[in-house]
């Protein structure tokens, strides 16, 4: 499966971003402040449909705030957000169009943890208006693919971090959304679960859907995404196809450090020249 997914992404590599089609997400002049702190400082974003998109940035860059506003969970102070051509913050009709088309896996928000994994999916699916038999079928398949069948009758409160992320992902995919928003989906997840999640996401994008996920792990973004947006201090520093953003830098990590202006910090290591577990020449005064 992953192989097919990679074939699919490389096919799309050639086409210009968002050309001809409605972008998955269009953000114009988005602004949000909490008290004195400006979390999101007037950003503009165009995320093309059908891509695996990474929103990268250091902790506190405003990634979660941005994703929350795009998905309708947090009201922006200013700005306009269109998801698949529909305004997220306009009239109820348009909001309904958006909510039916997106799936979310937020970070730091609970699930209904006193339900079992199976019950949580049944509840989510019926809340989405899917027929019962269809929910059961999709839930069984998702549980199977995500390796949760053995724990499907266990309460989510007793799940590990990786299992929670996986059941959250299953709940977000159940209604087959066009755009999937994942906030730090690999945070605290073991390698086996991470690989499972990765496989499901790659299969999902290979069929033309869009994944937008936030992360501060550059290697992960570099290996998964074909399109990145770099965020720092509430602003977008760069956005575009991965190769374009990386430019001449050897890795996305290096390009990122340059973009956020953190390259100079490496010199700070000089002031710790005594460090080295006593093996170095200056073992420190006794």
């Amino acid at each position: 499966m992953p192989d097919q997914a990679f074939d699919g992404t490389s096919d799309r590599e050639g086409t210009a971003p968002g050309e001809g089609a409605v972008p998955a997400v269009r953000v114009e002049g988005l602004w949000k402040r909490f008290g004195q702190q400006i979390a999101v400082n007037g950003i503009d974003l165009v995320l093309p449909a059908g891509r695996f998109i990474g929103l990268v940035g250091p902790n506190g860059a405003g990634k979660t705030t941005t994703l929350s506003m795009i998905t309708g969970l947090l009201r922006p102070d200013h700005g306009r957000i269109l998801v698949a051509g529909h305004d997220v913050w306009a009239d109820p009709e348009s909001v309904a169009q958006v909510k039916a088309r997106i799936g979310i896996l937020p970070e730091g928000l609970r699930l209904f943890e006193r339900l079992s994994g199976r019950e949580l999916l049944a509840y989510t699916g019926r809340l989405r208006g899917l027929p019962g038999a269809e929910v059961d079928k999709r839930a069984a398949q998702l549980l199977d693919v995500l390796d949760l069948t053995g724990s499907q009758n266990k309460l989510v409160v007793d799940y590990s971090t990786g299992m929670r992320k996986k059941i959250g992902l299953a709940a977000a995919l159940l209604h087959n959304p066009e755009v999937l928003f994942l906030d730090e989906p690999f945070e605290g997840v073991d390698p086996v679960s991470a690989q499972t999640i990765r496989g499901v996401l790659e299969r999902y994008t290979s069929s033309g859907a869009t994944v937008v996920f936030s992360s501060h792990v550059m290697e992960l973004v570099e290996s998964l995404c074909d399109w990145v947006a770099v965020m720092a201090a509430g602003q977008i520093r760069a956005q575009g196809p991965l190769a374009e953003v990386r430019g001449s830098a050897p890795s996305l990590q290096a390009a990122f450090l340059e973009l956020v202006g953190a390259n100079g910090r490496e010199a700070a290591g000089d002031s710790l020249d005594w460090l080295g577990g006593g093996a170095g020449p200056g073992g420190g005064p006794r």
Partner: protein, 539 residues
């Protein structure tokens, strides 16, 4: 270190006692407010102990002295037994799982732990109370001798009981299920206070204490209250009975220590399998989406939301505590008043008020998981379906329960003629509470802390919660005033033959209020989803 292997026990005991003393001292050294709370609780405890001892001394020589002394000791022992299950003590010297890595032998360890657990405010308070109980009973030399033996024996037995119960259940207490149990402690206190309140009222009346004598005669043979019973027996000259009761208590203490030691040994040498246990338990009660509940309930959003709400009543400790409190107090207040002859059918409305309160702060009960709901609401119609399903889940339990409480109250009062108006008023009030509950849920949502059995509001949102609850309750009272006015009018104008009209009028009025509340709340909910989510995510 001079401690050699031939006599390790005394040093171990002193280590534990010193550890306990430093913990107590550090408790006093904590910052401002906590020190004040600590000191005031000690002062309060001392005053309470002094008052009780004084009461016991005054009781000395009066007939019910033995009954009171024995029952107080029994209640004390009971509270020691259940305390570890509901109150996480934070007494780390007694948590055996912290000692697993140390090379300790069971016998000296149990001795050291027992002596260390005698140090503290609780054991001292227990000692003073049992001393008071013995003071009220001891007469003559024999009585004094038995008291001197019995009081320490009863105190040590109380402490050993608490420790052995805790040790036997420590795996449960440190697991998720144990933490859930601790969250129910608020509930135990709420219902216990009601029972104590009514018990005290009952006993306050003349001759009330006599009715407790049979209970006392049984409890007097149960350790550790048997030790206090022994003081009474000895004072009356029944030396054989006194000896038997003392021996019984001593035997119970020995058995408890043995049980404690066995639990400790098991804890120290066996691996912790609590998570495996929790998993298999959940498997046993977990059902798929096609359970009994799913088959009864309607399809679509209504069924899904009702099913989740009803499951949460049973599975979520905070929700369960709120429900059981409402159900129990809603029953206790009208029934106990009726039993005491001071009741009225109108007290049954208390039940509908308590139950209707469960509709308040619906989204706060979801915690930040409300995002899953918010994700599926776009139009006022969605919000209406969501709120209506929650109200239906609530009413599916509270409507039959209101009928039950009202009918039982009428039966106890023996006044069936008042049943129609009682039911009508109760339903009217229930409807008003559910209707206002829907509106306040949308307008004044607040976070419910999930980690405390006592707190139901996070710091900073208390004002919001007060507006929600009291504003809502006053509005509900005003909204149901037409029914109340009609009842009063029909009584005063002596048109009692028309009072049955309240039976259809009440539910109709209530249903209209529920509908109006839902209609009013739905557009507000749909409009304020991000604000509601932010407000309920602080817990």
């Amino acid at each position: 270190m001079s401690a050699d292997t031939t006599a390790p026990a005394p040093s171990l005991t002193s280590v534990f006692v010193r550890l306990k003393l430093s913990l107590l001292r550090n408790g006093l050294r904590q910052s401002g407010g906590r020190t004040a709370a600590y000191v005031s609780s000690i002062v309060f405890g001392a005053l309470f102990a002094a008052g009780t001892v004084l009461a016991f001394v005054l009781l000395r020589g009066h007939a019910p002295a033995a009954t009171v002394a024995v029952l107080v000791t029994g209640a004390l022992a009971l509270s020691w037994a259940v305390m570890p299950l509901f109150v996480p003590t934070g007494d780390e010297t007694l948590d055996p799982s912290r000692l697993v890595m140390l090379p300790l032998r069971p016998r000296p360890l149990v001795r050291a732990l027992l002596v260390a657990s005698l140090v503290g405010v609780g054991p001292v308070l227990t000692f003073v109370l049992t001393l008071g109980a013995a003071l009220s009973l001891a007469h003559g030399a024999a009585g004094t001798v038995v008291a001197v033996l019995g009081v320490p024996l009863a105190t040590v037995t109380c402490v050993a009981l608490s420790r052995s119960v805790a040790a036997a259940n420590i795996r449960l207490l440190t697991s998720r299920k144990g933490r859930d149990l601790a969250l129910l402690s608020g509930l135990v206190i709420a219902i216990g206070m009601q029972l104590v309140n009514f018990g005290a009222q009952r006993l306050g009346r003349a001759g009330g204490l006599d009715s407790l004598e049979p209970a006392a005669s049984v409890v007097g043979w149960l350790p550790p209250a048997a030790a206090i019973g022994a003081v009474d027996s000895a004072s009356r000259g029944d030396h054989a009975v006194a000896a038997a009761r003392l021996l019984l208590t001593a035997a119970a203490l020995a058995a408890l220590v043995h049980w404690w030691r066995r639990s400790l040994v098991r804890l120290m040498v066996e691996p912790d399998g609590s998570t495996i246990g929790a998993a298999s338990d959940a498997k046993a009660d977990g059902r798929s989406g096609t359970g009994l509940l799913a088959r009864i309930l309607p399809g679509g959003r209504t069924g899904a939301v009702m099913e989740r709400s009803l499951r949460y009543v049973w599975r979520d400790p905070k929700t369960k505590a709120a429900w059981v409190t409402s159900l129990a107090i809603g029953l206790i207040v009208p029934l106990f008043n009726a039993f005491q002859g001071g009741g009225s059918i109108y007290f049954a409305c208390f039940a509908s008020g308590m139950l209707g309160m469960l509709m308040y702060n619906q989204f706060g009960q979801d915690t930040s998981a409300f995002w899953m709901v918010a994700q599926t609401i776009a139009t006022p119609a969605d919000a209406y379906a969501e709120l209506r399903a929650r109200a239906l889940a609530l009413l599916s339990v509270t409507v039959p329960y209101t009928v039950f409480v009202t009918v039982v109250t009428a039966a106890v009062l023996g006044d069936w003629t008042k049943l129609p108006e009682g039911l009508g008023l109760a339903f009217g009030l229930l409807g008003a509470m559910v209707g206002t509950g829907a509106v306040t849920s949308a307008r004044f949502p607040y976070s419910v802390p999930q980690d405390s059995g006592y707190k139901n509001v996070v710091p900073g949102q208390a004002g919001l919660a007060w507006i929600s609850i009291f504003g809502g309750m006053i509005t509900a009272a005003v909204l149901s005033s037409p029914l109340i006015a009609a009842t009063i009018y029909l009584h005063v104008s002596d048109q009692r033959s028309l009072l049955w009209l309240l039976l259809p009028a009440g539910p109709l009025h209530g249903a209209l209020l529920v509908l109006a509340g839902l209609k009013l709340a739905a557009p507000r909910t749909a409009r304020r989803l991000p604000e509601i989510l932010a407000s309920v995510s602080k817990g």
